[in-house]
Point group: D3
Chain length 242, copies 6
């Protein structure tokens, strides 16, 4: 039995509150059980220098945790003068995934900034971030639909992410912190609502894993993302029409 009485193939409660903050162009509070992340999307009227003059848009992401989000205080990156390796890895992942499902050519020379700030951490902050950032992104795109003369929003599918892993030799879905900290194998999968994989990252923390185990982890993921797509659909009702 899992620590919170879930079945091995069961997600925690997934909740997405759209328009959580008033200032950003798009925002959402995403909750995977006790994990809570504020996701915001803001448009800036310029692109990075490598895109100047191409009439192409860009999308970039940043990820951080507030110090009080964890049981032991997480010290701020700025106090060490540089972003942590872990944060950098996660924000590169978020940006890459979001770019892969957005047609940035319709944005003109603009950048969308996606910010994921974890306010409470209980495992799965990166997958919650991706799932919530998608909602913030769509809300921001919707806000500029008219100004950018978009007939339809430049995203084709929902995008969700879940963590899976092998704990006590058993594959399970959506690990909470306690499970994550003793997982033998740890994997994050990002998928579209068309059933395709956008990113897969699997690590044998305590031991390597077989191809058979890999396949059962993927199956769990496929189940998990459905819960996320449902929560996104509800949060984006009247905004995204598929």
């Amino acid at each position: 039995m899992r620590i919170d009485n879930r079945n091995n193939d069961q997600m925690r409660l997934v909740k997405i509150t759209p328009n959580f903050l008033k200032n950003p162009h798009g925002s959402a509070l995403v909750e995977f059980g006790d994990t809570k992340v504020i996701c915001t999307a803001m448009l800036e009227e310029k692109t990075p220098s490598f895109l100047r003059g191409t009439n192409q848009g860009w999308l970039t992401a940043e990820y951080d945790m507030i110090p009080g989000s964890t049981i032991v205080r997480t010290s701020r990156d700025v106090s060490k003068g540089k972003i942590s390796g872990r944060s950098q890895e996660i924000q590169r992942l978020i940006g890459r995934c979001m770019r892969s499902v957005t047609d940035m050519s319709v944005l003109g020379e603009r950048t969308i900034w996606l910010d994921c700030d974890v306010i409470q951490a209980d495992g799965g902050t990166r997958t919650a971030s991706i799932s919530g950032a998608f909602v913030a992104l769509v809300l921001a795109l919707d806000r500029f639909k008219e100004e950018l003369k978009l007939e339809q929003l430049p995203v084709k599918n929902y995008l969700g992410a879940v963590s899976v892993g092998i704990v006590d030799n058993i594959p399970i879905l959506d690990l909470c912190y306690e499970e994550d900290s003793r997982a033998m194998v740890d994997m994050n999968i990002v998928m579209t609502s068309a059933g395709e994989i956008v990113e897969i990252q699997g690590t044998g923390e305590a031991r390597p894993f077989t191809k058979t185990e890999l396949l059962s982890l993927i199956q769990l993921s496929e189940k998990g993302v459905k819960t996320i797509f449902a929560a996104q659909k509800e949060a984006l009702a009247n905004v995204l029409e598929f």
Copy 2:
């Protein structure tokens, strides 16, 4: 008439939600109208090196804004590799005020970290931070009451802060962002519930000010902090008994 229909001597709605997060030893969400700050307090089992061997405790504060808290995205300090002058000034102020009302000698060689993370900014983030950090601090102290063998909590008074300013030559209380950005004179006052001043910082942004104006600003502050003490009292009911 003020932009949000308040009287010149009227605070915005002040709301303090105690125990807002589950991981820190103490926490509160403080709201001054649309300004929202997450305040957390966490005890660490060591002190800065200048206190080692003295059996004295310490208290330090950090302040930050998430990028989506403002109308124009606030870029993260870490992306510039160093904390901004403004953030540094504010967190030094918060720490100084909290230390001034806490008897740190009873803590033993421990540090209390206070973190104020602004999630939505509409003026007065530093005064909201101080007012909310006080609640988080008391909640954390209460949690360790037994372990630290405290007969009573080592704080003697409530501590609140408000901003006042002169806009269109009229002294007003608790400026929202729109008012703050065109204030001629800008002042922050931190007071105890015993009616004494802990810190006063006043700046003639667009013009200097007279001693008479200074006095009327202080009078407005004295009115404003009462609202804050009431909200703190409610948030700390059963914890602080005065």
Copy 3:
């Protein structure tokens, strides 16, 4: 009796040597007793990016202490890779005060850099810096009077600053280091020769203070700045004609 036999409302010897260095456009050595600060003013032919194209000038200040200025060696900020919180706070204060008394619109797209380098510290370095920087600033403005086609210098009043504080429960003027280090309340006030306040910063270091105490500290300041205006007037004879 005070450590240097002064009365409670008595300034130390204030001395301002104009044109102390040959290279800057304006310079002064300011002395408040044993506290000695070299203040320089230099014009640069460009403004920060937020002012480009506005035909507006700007004024910015930097503050530092040489390592040998203090009893215990002060390590250089650069050895830690970043400016200290204290230095940053002080230089922001100096810049803010100088901008408040200068009409920067007549400068065109130019920046005036004010540098305050403490070579000997004995309390009151920030107030000495402000008082000396004003002289350096006026000397630099005077040097460019013709080139900038100014009929009169773009400052309307003298600007001086003093520290006051409560030591052993007694309000005193112009604290030396020994007094400053055991002050219960510490305050810096910046005033114009028109008798108005530009900045007030008061902190209850060891205890809060009452409104009555605040008023007596302000009265001491009003007395102290007169000494400074006199020294500035002498240093700027033939330059500033009021």
Copy 4:
């Protein structure tokens, strides 16, 4: 036909020169075609602070490219004052993989530093680094066999890594730079000679990918790592006896 006339399931020439440098405890030059990486392993007589007192060893990796390794000069990380996100991601990956196949408990309180310095880059630098670092690591362990009183070296299998990807909709093995830069899907797989997966990282750069495609990429990898194990076996003849 591929740019260098290889079959889709064909590795470039893999060459590993052991003991390439005289100073490190272990070293190797690894070549995957034109990609050349110097890998070194050095033992240090202490561990990171989180392991002090545990009698446990540690293993950490760093990755860098010399500026002249690429067609357009790669500027040094230090000139920006911080390690790039890409380098950080790669060195975290290398360290994780090496730790997963090494029994660090036999090292005592020692750290093994693995350094991978790319001197010529033509795609696959991270997989070449892992494959070469394994050889450097084993050589260093062998050198200390006696001193550490090891009956056998604390590694159980060979460890190799390859890149695979989908270019022009066709899955191919071991991408060179030209192929990598236009890959639709990009994947790195790290495997042991026991046929198990240590790490899998797949990204849909230009489009998502199906589970079927994922499986065919894994199959290519399984073929590719055999070539690497053969080269490692040759480089470690007389050192590793399996």
Copy 5:
């Protein structure tokens, strides 16, 4: 007798392999005995800002050591966030020397980047770097001869550097690491094939030195650079015709 059986006025084996890497415009591996440095030269189509609009070229150098180049691992500069004083001194020296023998006016607004990366260190890395960088530079210039419409390469002489020193009170040529670490006097001299001095840097590490000793050290240098000019001539056969 010296540790490697050389005479006091004898260089170690000097070997320069031109075109060592395929990506840079010019490259060389230089070896002074066991000291090995990869030198590369790359042209960039812009100059530093202080030269914009002058139609003048520029030349700059960077120097680094890979961590495994030394007996005790050299930690990377980037891990401390800044370049070491030693590296900075050396790369300033390399750049200065190369600029002194190159007519940069014929380059137009271009910068040549010279990178010297030590892969194995056994004393004399800075003099080996200068000697090898000269070859990389000439190869890069030769590659752009046509594009830059140069009738002849803009260098007039060969440029070589050697270290000399006083060990056990005896002046010797080309110190290896073991000798360098116990040298009383340490000197580096950079000379042209016309017999003139470009740079001389001598330090009394353990004791000062006399003018007579200085002269005998210079004589040794004059002998040593001849070996280097010969190796450069061979490496640049068919490229530099003098």
Copy 6:
């Protein structure tokens, strides 16, 4: 004729004011004509980690220029987050020279910090710094003579430094800024009063130089340092008895 009417072998007025500041253990203001440097020496009760437990002392130097010391404002190193290459080179030079003439074994586990802060620059700041730092150092040593139980001060000779150079093909002594900026050859020599060389650094800025020219530059130096030794002797009368 030189710009300030000096002969080619003539120093500017050299003036050393001992005990210039009240806080450091030793201090001096050194002037070479219009070049003015504040030199201070301060003892710290610990050594760098590489000397712990050896009962050996250490000596280290830092060099900086205040922004107003130059005609065009010199921006502070800290604003770029790192020390400039030039400053680093100079402070390494100062430290090396001072260590070479001081018997650090008598200091016990203590560090002497030497700080050279240029307040006015007109060429020769590094040689003035060395010459002044020597005086500050001796004054600090003298102050601790009793505490350290020194029978005599642990320095054996005076130490002075001068710049020489070739301007318009003529060797001259002690270059001012105007001369320095158009020197073909630039050299700094540090010598003891016993007539020996501690450091020589010569650079062919605009052209290489011959051995004959080198010798005539050394001769000029030998003349110049005599003026410095005389000024040091005067400043240290009653302190250093040789």
